[in-house]
Subunit: 372 residues, 2 copies
């Protein structure tokens, strides 16, 4: 693993992050198995999970880190703190995903059985006593707890190596925790508490969930943490966040669209899965409040219906399209993309090198042009 | 709140800890409610939970902290780092309890509905859609996640104020997390995986769960963290841990005894609750392997039986008593108490003041003489 240099090559950086996570989790597996080998599956599930994913957050942290070096005197060429930060972001996400899959009762994650399903399988295969589903929930709660705790451990390792910047980065890291967990809860409350009186309120709720549960910790905080930990100015941090966050929101809005209109062959999710879950997205909010009354009621009645057919899903697509909900969300995605492009101009003025800007543009492209 | 001085009075110290937790959680409630007031119950449940409890871990941290001052030059009279450490220990415990109550399906905690039951009640009272029990689990998972994350936030605040000792204390704090979560999982695995071939293996498993899930984080780590954070020598840390840990193990063995033999009027738990849960304690391990074959089979068949009657519980008490399991555990508690007394002598040699020793003895008394 390279321990010095800025890792100018993204593939090389991602490989180094994967290696850091692998080494860390292997050490943790040893520590846990030394207590009792029967506890090793708690770590195995995290090892499997952390092998997948796009490593989007590490890449954004890497961009923020390199941006900071443009201005700051290079105190150290050691990239170990950056790798620890990147691994912390990945384990924080792993914790969120593992607990979220229990909460949403999602059976698959990254084309594998989700962690609670893995523990159910282990319970069944071992012929153990008691409730299989509850054992699955238990294993996933505790695997997620370890991931959450280890994210902090890795962050502390990063912060210890950069004492001058630890406090500022720590504030952002902690705020990220509170916001994501709060966003997860609000998402569930929106699902169970049903429709709102006004479109405005429905959109506000959906945007709050989207921003705090997903967008900020996927874009703004990683790039800001990379910059803050490397000692970048607060002006630079803010400019990076301003360019990154609209992309995170656009990414999630696209996710909402794909959840209803996506091609199952490309998304890997069955048609209408978001509808069966009863997710109250902005797309749905516009549909409910802009469709003719009968169509709106039809849409409302289908939300959260586990028996929703493919035909029902097609009907919902038609309602959302003719009510203008789809085009409204598409326009919002465009507006957000334009806002990011505007903020990017500030980054040019702040002296970011063409190499960093190119890497930022590649992430932006990945975020807004997704089809899966 | 006193912000300076050593807080020589235990009641004053506990009051200051309660105040620190109250202030911290009030700030957090504001932060969470600013995102959306609907998320406030996530914090309310932690506020209610943290009002109860004996504050055992804070008191041990306070003893460790004061022990360190005996040798070290007094750099600061500020007790704020100690209060933050104490609050971190309490929130870490809150996280463990909230998730454990989901895992054990315990409906009450500290004479109140446990957190997942509180969220079930809220779901029902609001007339919300979907599965009430699952909403309860969701709320408890996320409340526990916040508590876990905020424990780290509070610890970071403590550590930032004591930079010279932060690294060493941080290692202990992190190890505590990994061990407790691992212990929680092993506890469940022991319950579902059934009897072991040998008494030795059954006792080893029970002792591992007891040590890692409960004893260490209740005694050894709090006193060690207080000492380490204040800059006490590693010799002193080790001596404090050696005196504290046997008490933590004895406390849990007493807990196992009370779980079967305790007076419900005193313990607040129905007779035989541990048996219904199927907890494989050392007491049970001795009973299973030392009772005559028929009685052993009887005992095994009753473990984890939710329909266990009071009469069954009385029969199990008789089996455990006549097999010598009860007296064996009582003897072990005595042996552990003696080991702590021996280790305490070392603390005298290390120059601990009579005041600190008196406070330590009071905690020791509380730990080994409990009846509830």
């Amino acid at each position: 693993m390279p321990t010095s240099g800025h890792l100018y090559d993204q593939a090389e950086f991602v490989a180094a992050v994967n290696q850091r996570i692998g080494t860390f989790l292997a050490e943790k597996k040893d520590q846990v198995a030394a207590i009792d080998p029967q506890a090793a599956p708690l770590v195995d599930s995290l090892i499997a999970l952390s092998r997948g994913g796009k490593k989007l957050r590490p890449v954004l942290a890497w961009i923020g880190w390199r941006a900071a070096w443009v201005h700051a005197p290079v105190e150290t060429e050691d990239v170990q703190p950056l790798l620890n930060l990147a691994a912390a972001l990945e384990l924080f996400q792993a914790a969120a995903l593992v607990h979220d899959d229990v909460i949403d009762r999602s059976a698959t994650r990254r084309s594998q059985p989700s962690v609670h399903i893995q523990f159910e399988q282990r319970h069944r295969a071992s012929g153990w006593a008691g409730d299989t589903a509850h054992f699955g929930t238990t294993g996933a709660i505790l695997s997620g707890d370890l991931a959450l705790s280890w994210a902090s451990e890795l962050f502390d390792l990063a912060a210890e190596a950069m004492p001058a910047n630890a406090l500022r980065a720590g504030r952002v890291f902690r705020q990220m925790h509170t916001e994501v967990i709060t966003g997860q809860f609000l998402d569930v409350v929106a699902e169970v508490s049903g429709p709102t009186a006004t479109e405005e309120e429905a959109v506000r709720r959906a945007r709050t969930v989207l921003t705090y549960k997903s967008a900020k910790y996927s874009t703004e905080y990683p790039i800001e943490l990379g910059c803050a930990l490397a000692g970048g100015t607060t002006e630079l941090s803010a400019a990076l966040a301003e360019a990154a966050l609209p992309l995170g929101i656009a990414f999630q809005l696209r996710d909402d669209v794909l959840g209803v209109f996506g091609d199952p062959g490309v998304t890997g999710k069955p048609v209408g899965d978001d509808l069966r879950e009863g997710k109250r997205t902005e797309l749905i909010a516009y549909g409910l409040h802009r469709a003719p009354e009968a169509a709106g009621a039809e849409l409302e009645s289908m939300l959260g219906n586990p028996d929703l057919t493919e035909q029902d899903a097609t009907q919902i697509q038609e309602i959302l399209t003719s009510a203008g909900a789809l085009s409204h969300v598409e326009a919002e995605i465009e507006r957000l993309t334009a806002r990011s492009t505007e903020a990017r101009a500030k980054l040019v003025n702040l002296g970011l090198t063409p190499g960093i800007l190119r890497d930022f543009d590649a992430v932006a492209e990945l975020l807004v042009s997704r089809t899966s």
